[in-house]
Amino acid sequence: MSKDKLQYDVIVVGAGMAGSTAAAIAAREGLNVAVIERGVKPGSKNYFGGALYTHALVDIYPDFFDRKPPLERPVTETGFWFLSDDGLVKATVQGGVVNSDPIDAYVALRAEFDPWWAEQAVAEGAFIIPKTLVEDFLYEDGKVVGVKTDRPEGDVYAPVVIVCEGVNNLLTQKLGLIDHDLKISKTALAVKQMISIPAKDINARLGLPDNNHGMAISVMGDVSMGLAGLGFLYTAKGALSLGVGVTLDALQESGIKPYELLQRYLEHPAIAPLIKDGQMMEYGAHLIPEGGWTTMPRLYTDGVLVAGDAASMVNALHWEGTNMAITAGKQAGLTAVEAHKKGDFSAKSLSTYQDKLSDLFVLQDMKQYRKFSAFLKNHPQFMDIYPTFINDALGMFFTGFGKPKRKLYKDILRSLTSRRPLFKAIGDIIAFGRSIIGI
């Protein structure tokens, strides 16, 4: 062994939510941690809706808000918007449970938040190595003992490597922790535009009292043109983020160009006025691993732990992912600390990582929602028929047309049954319930 061998206690691959969290936790316990990030800085490859969940952030840094994190707006109104081809029903909630202290979720921009989140890990003692790609692992006696990077003489050693490489989990595949690449029926492509609009116009257009109020909205219906997928809308301080995500198999079958689907959403008569005179600041695209439990790799092997998108830790219905990544990153960090105390980095020793996640919402939810991605694929009517029906039904209920109410109710029912027989609609509701309860 050469004496200038680059040796750490822990290597973390990727400085996203999972990676920088794992690094902070391990460094806090005195371990020597290197985080290897392929972007010019943390966050430069990351792209989401999106909102971060306070519970996960505060769990890592109890004084999180005192640290002046770069957040956009708190999510003070959230819920669904149902789009028909020219109408909109809003089913959102504000106040009440949503008005918690602190607020449950904050809109953030990853290119601003991730570098800050990584800085907190650096303050704990972690070392960030940016602009460096991990290409492969280093093995001794068949066990991972480090990583090979694309730097000259770029081998870095550590007895445990925490892989937080993101959705394109090629390293995880290389380790054989999962025996296939991403599945097209269980992966969504999301495309998004961030559109700059003066804060006062955002507030006026969305009915927000001031810049300290914001929205996280899931948009169903016309936005996905009947494909398995959803739209979204998030409020930054002086910008709106609007995007649409559809599963890859649906995209393939439809022949639709993703950016045309997005543009069509932006031109919807209920959406276009929100972004009028806005300036497009950034367009981007990212995959989302929506298979959850069904596409989760093995989470550990000798000298390796996997966390975040790389481990398919996403809840597609509840728009959760970053919180799972943070929570899993923390548990991976703690597991690395324990392994160092034991001096045992075998798969058996590291398997406590999975036990920890099983006791938490991460694996419990992934198991419970394991049928959800299949449900979406098999029930496209939730993307098409039902959002339109909700628009028609509410519209008819609140407009008279001068006809007797008995006739009105019949018309409402017919606007459903003309699209989907009643018994099938009831079956769809039951199937939805089963998919989220997990039976």
């Binding site: 392929r38 972007g39 010019v40 966050g43 430069s44 490859k45 990351n46 792209y47 989401f48 081809d85 020219d86 921009l109 990853r110 290119a111 601003e112 991730d114 940016p130 602009k131 460096t132 790609l133 990077t149 694309d150 730097r151 959705v167 394109n168 090629l170 690449d181 991403l182 097209i184 992966t187 492509l189 535009q193 961030m194 016309d222 043109m225 930054a236 910008a239 890859l248 995209l251 393939q252 022949g255 639709i256 160009k257 993703p258 950016y259 045309e260 689907l261 543009q263 069509r264 031109e267 919807h268 497009m280 600041m281 950034e282 367009y283 981007g284 695209a285 990212h286 995959l287 519209g395």
Partner: protein, 104 residues
């Protein structure tokens, strides 16, 4: 209610106009994407990569020869997963290169 009205069509989008909003550090020495066997693309009937790539990096030259504008790639991975013939060699760009989101 007018049930006979036309469904809204897909608008035409010039993707190059949208790519102007993206920041890249272009690797002048190495390309991280490549077509493994150009003949396979020539014979591919639908050439769906031209449709599904979210930045329109795949274009057909002279009718059927698929070419990749690698510098436009945002490293999403869609092409690797959706190519029906798994005919795309997909790697991450070298450290420090490729897309660099300004907002994310």
């Amino acid at each position: 209610m007018d049930k006979n009205k036309q469904k809204r069509e897909l608008p035409q989008v010039y993707i190059d106009d949208m790519l102007g909003s993206l920041k890249y550090f272009t690797d002048e020495q190495e390309l991280h994407l490549a077509i493994i066997d150009p003949a396979v693309c020539q014979a591919c009937e639908d050439q769906p990569c031209i449709q599904f790539c979210p930045v329109g990096a795949y274009r057909a030259q002279d009718g059927r020869t698929v070419q990749i504008a690698v510098q436009s790639c945002v490293e999403c991975g869609t092409c690797r997963v959706l190519c029906p013939y798994l005919n795309i060699s997909w790697k991450n760009p070298r450290g420090g290169f490729g897309v660099s989101y300004k907002f994310g």
